[in-house]
Symmetry: C2
Subunit: 363 residues, 2 copies
């Protein structure tokens, strides 16, 4: 078992990574300290893994909310459903909300934990690759609004993250592939060696080799923990973790939440950001091609969907948490392994990377 | 103009108290720094005072949400209405939410500010006595859930509070009286001199004499600022501000939100807490009678409504943020001017102060 610390003074917490951690009742029992525990999961994960948590916490007062699956359920209604369950159970401020599932479960449950009685304890048990390498770490919680992704939420750190690599064995191929996008992202924005390693180890990763997976999850969490520890509330460096996400959120929004998985949209978004970085002369065409090639080898699309017009994507990008004074701000690459936040890009070049102009004219 | 500082390190902020402050465009302009401003008010306050804010900020991008009046609108729906307005206006993370109104407007607008894009700036312009002396200071934001009051919310400090005493001239008598309850509270829990002063100056206060009001608002804010500065997130002393509130919340809940004003319920709740304190031998009957007498002179009820049974009140008290291990915790008095959090009260005595036993048997 690997242990990584997220260093946030009084809000510091450990990330545990290993195979079979959900079977470790003692570990779960230590990480989840409350007498009252609200387990939040979804209908797909529930029958596979909830029993491990139920067994480990059989001496506690445990209740469960099982959400329907998918990004389309990352709504204020799901959030309210969890709050109602907490109140029906008369859970007190000393309770813990436990998220067992992927990014949607973690984000919704985390926002409920952040706002129930103005904040209760929260533990993340991520079961998807994307949640293990990215969304379960760092305390960002949110629900979507029909007008924008992740627009309602809170910074609320978990008190522990337990990533059981065994859960990745049951992950559908699309979900697994989507998680690879966030792993590639860490290499691109701040860890060139990790990007190089991905290029040489992608086949073992795709084969879900445990040792390779373990290294990828660990290195991703180390990168995430370092960024979050330096800039918890995204006043600076943390925004770089949004590389590919402004494009990606626009794709998700334009296609309707849940039709493209978040990681799939980020994969295409990173390719779009790489193209724009090259257009601006910041990275060489060969670097751009390495990026697009790795994303494609991972099984991800490297382009925005043709069914979303430039106009639709641009409109969706106009609502983004990084925007300032009405201007879209983007994370772009200066090199493989180095990113920065920019608003000095060329508008024409941005339009071009959004897709074929014919689609734009038709919109 | 009086200025009081709430000392919370990086989140410190000023409270300005004075007559005609809403007419002071320069003050409003300095306190509200953003280009994008969402003014949240209610249908009663809007026609009276919104124009001052609109005039002061005519060079900004200003939008307005006007809620229906009353505690029954302190809901997740009102909260969502503000978030939707923010998104429709494409307001960015640099925007400011401004609450112009009483406790309901401030609490709902504050929670929207706390969670829009995971937190934006917030300014309070309280127009009721209760909001000026209590709810606008300290960063507690919340909405009600049908199963419990203030159960969904966040700690989110404003960047400034501007209390214009002139707005109290238009306050309906019931609203004014309700605010007196919270002023009496500060004397009871931590400021004996202030309680003595209230006894001798209540008539001038009821006549809304400006100098007397100014002193009462100032002294209340000084007390509140001191408590919040020492214990922002209510891990200890701040719970004492809940004196009379556990009983009060139960009355509000049992009677249906909005039928008793919050301050009215707190007034009766303080008398109930005083009776229990005497029953436990902590304060003399003469002290209890002074408290009940002052609350009555203020025009507030000193008893729970007969239409709420002991059983109803007890059930409502079982959902309270202070409760621990299934036990109701209460703020009780050790003396006039000193309170403590207790769970060693006698259950029989608690039942008795909740109301006549006939009501209990009938339930």
């Amino acid at each position: 078992m690997i242990r990584i610390e997220v260093d946030l003074a009084a809000r510091s917490y450990p990330i545990f990574i290993g195979s079979g951690l959900l079977r470790d009742s003692a570990l779960l029992g230590r990480a989840i300290k409350s007498r009252q525990v609200m387990l939040v999961t979804n209908e797909l994960v529930d029958p596979l893994y909830a029993h491990f948590v139920e067994e480990a916490l059989q001496d506690r007062q445990l209740r469960k909310v099982s959400l329907a699956d998918g990004e389309s359920r990352k709504t204020i209604e799901s959030y309210y459903q969890i709050l109602t369950a907490l109140l029906e159970a008369k859970f007190e401020r000393g309770c813990t909300v436990v998220a067992l599932g992927g990014g949607v479960v973690g984000d919704v449950a985390g926002f409920a934990a952040a706002s129930y009685q103005r904040g209760v304890s929260f533990v993340q048990l991520p079961t998807t690759l994307l949640a293990q390498v990215d969304s379960s770490v760092g305390g960002k919680t949110a629900v979507n609004h029909p007008l924008g992704k992740n627009m309602i939420g809170a910074f609320h750190q978990p008190s522990a993250v337990i990533a059981d690599l065994e859960t990745l064995n049951t992950l559908p191929p699309r979900e697994f592939t989507a998680g690879l996008a966030e792993i590639i992202k860490y290499g691109l924005i701040r860890d060139r060696d990790f990007f190089d390693w991905m290029e040489t180890h992608l086949d073992q990763l795709l084969a879900r080799d445990t040792a390779t997976l373990s290294l990828a999850v660990r290195r991703s969490c180390e990168n995430k923990a370092a960024v979050v520890g330096a800039d918890e509330q995204e006043s600076g460096e943390r925004a770089l973790l949004n590389f590919g996400h402004t494009f990606g959120h626009a794709i998700e929004h334009a296609q309707g939440y849940g039709n493209w998985l978040h990681g799939e949209a980020v994969g295409a978004g990173m390719c779009m950001a790489a193209r724009l970085s090259t257009r601006m002369g910041n990275i060489a065409p060969t670097s751009r091609d390495r990026i697009i090639n790795l994303v494609a080898r991972a099984g991800l699309s490297t382009e925005a969907p043709e069914s979303s017009s430039r106009a639709q994507l641009l409109e969706a990008m106009s609502i983004d948490k990084k925007n300032k004074d009405g201007h879209i701000r983007l994370i772009l690459l200066d090199a493989i392994g180095h990113a920065s936040i920019r608003d000095d890009y060329d508008e024409e070049a941005l339009l071009e990377v959004l897709g074929p102009s014919a689609t734009f004219q038709a919109a």
